[in-house]
């Protein structure tokens, strides 16, 4: 295969676009997609500061590198979940990456915050991933607001977004359908949330990470029951294979014609938010969900006869 633009041997074939690129032309294409997302949805305005959530995976590190190359004022945020072995490995990747590129990094340690994920798993009777996701989002928003950042960027790619949209559609979840998209404007205690990679597929971000020599954290979390939305992603892979371009047209069509309709419905039913009395994060209850989790974990840990051994282990 030859590069469509410069005719040298191609390295990356993109069936969805019926094309192939060499390394240099792929980078130009990739940057073009990110810029297009930013311009079209006004994700970042000139001079704004961006907090980038970094898990250590290919998408978040790719996002950080690309935004910084585009000249944006970026700071990384990593939430250290306190899971034995895997959290230290993920954090090391993030710290190494930011040090290598001279990027600013802020780390939140859930052990220090009294809410490490292993304790959430042990003491809270609900799927650990849903609590973990909630805790991560809580800290993303909190650091963004407390640090005075204009927006919070996450590395969601087209495959993530399409799988999520598809799941929300299967449930006709009007709440989620009213505001899923590459840009969620700031309101009542929430920072603006942006997804500048939403036009790029998982394959494309993986190619970008590889050709830019990004060393990524790829070992799965020990609590993971497998990748989320695996079934939906496989289904979409079939659709895309048989009809290239399906993913982006489904997603773009939703943004244009679906979301505005759901947003109208939700406006009528929206509920009031006020600051959490403990941490000031926006909530519809007096104390926010994450502070309530922390209270429950702290109480149950104190009442746990095994806690003495836990303390020894934590110190080690």
């Amino acid at each position: 295969m030859k590069c469509r633009k410069c005719k040298v041997p191609a390295e990356i074939s993109l069936p969805s676009h019926n094309t192939a690129f060499c390394r240099a032309c792929f980078s130009t294409y990739f940057t073009g997609q990110v810029e297009r997302a930013i311009d079209k949805h006004k994700l970042i305005l000139p001079g704004e500061s961006v907090l980038v959530a970094l898990s250590g995976g290919k998408d978040s590190l790719t996002l950080m590198l690309e935004l910084s190359r585009l000249g944006h004022d970026v700071t990384g945020l990593h939430v250290d979940l306190g899971i034995p072995v895997s959290s230290a490995a993920a954090r090391a990747k993030v710290e190494g990456f930011c040090a290598q590129h001279g990027m600013k990094l802020h780390v939140v340690e859930l052990i220090k915050e009294g809410l490490p994920i292993p304790d959430v798993k042990k003491y809270i009777n609900r799927p650990v991933c849903s609590a973990c996701g909630k805790i991560k989002r809580h800290w993303f928003n909190r650091v963004a607001l407390e640090g005075g950042f204009h927006c919070l960027a996450t590395g969601h790619n087209l495959d993530d977004e399409v799988a999520r949209l598809f799941a929300n559609t299967l449930r006709w979840d009007a709440g989620y359908l009213s505001d899923q998209g590459p840009c969620l404007q700031a309101e009542s205690g929430f920072a603006r949330k942006i997804k500048p990679l939403y036009r790029l597929t998982e394959f494309e971000t993986a190619c970008y990470a590889f050709i830019n020599g990004i060393s990524i954290h790829s070992a799965p979390c020990p609590y993971s029951g497998g990748a989320s939305f695996t079934g939906h992603k496989a289904l979409w892979s079939n659709l895309e294979y048989n009809s290239p371009g399906s993913k982006i047209s489904f997603y773009d069509g939703f943004l244009k014609r679906g979301r505005p309709a759901f947003a109208l419905v939700e406006k009528e039913e929206g509920h009031e938010l006020s600051p959490c009395t403990s941490c000031a994060s926006p909530t519809s209850t007096e104390v926010c969900g994450v502070c309530r989790l922390k209270i429950a974990v702290t109480e149950r840990r104190a009442a746990d006869p095994d806690r003495a051994t836990d303390r020894v282990r934590d110190k080690a």
Binding site: E11, I12, S13, D159, D160, E202, G226, S237, E240
Partner: protein, 65 residues
């Protein structure tokens, strides 16, 4: 002989002969955009011939958890 490493499973497979990258991906049940196919420091498109003695890394792209 061709050595193929599959990530993230950390599997190593050995093939006597393979024709193209596309053929390798089909044998592994993968679509073109399911994985990076890496030889040394280069990415391979599906039409590339795999040579005897090649060492190939297959890096699946679907993010886990």
């Amino acid at each position: 002989m061709i050595i193929v490493h599959v990530e993230p499973e950390n599997q190593t497979l050995i093939f006597r002969s393979l024709n193209t990258v596309l053929m390798l991906q089909k044998r592994l049940g993968l679509r073109v955009t399911d994985a990076l196919v890496i030889r040394g420091s280069e990415l391979l498109t599906p039409d590339i011939q795999i040579q005897d003695g090649d060492e190939i890394h297959i890096r699946k792209v679907t993010s886990t958890g």
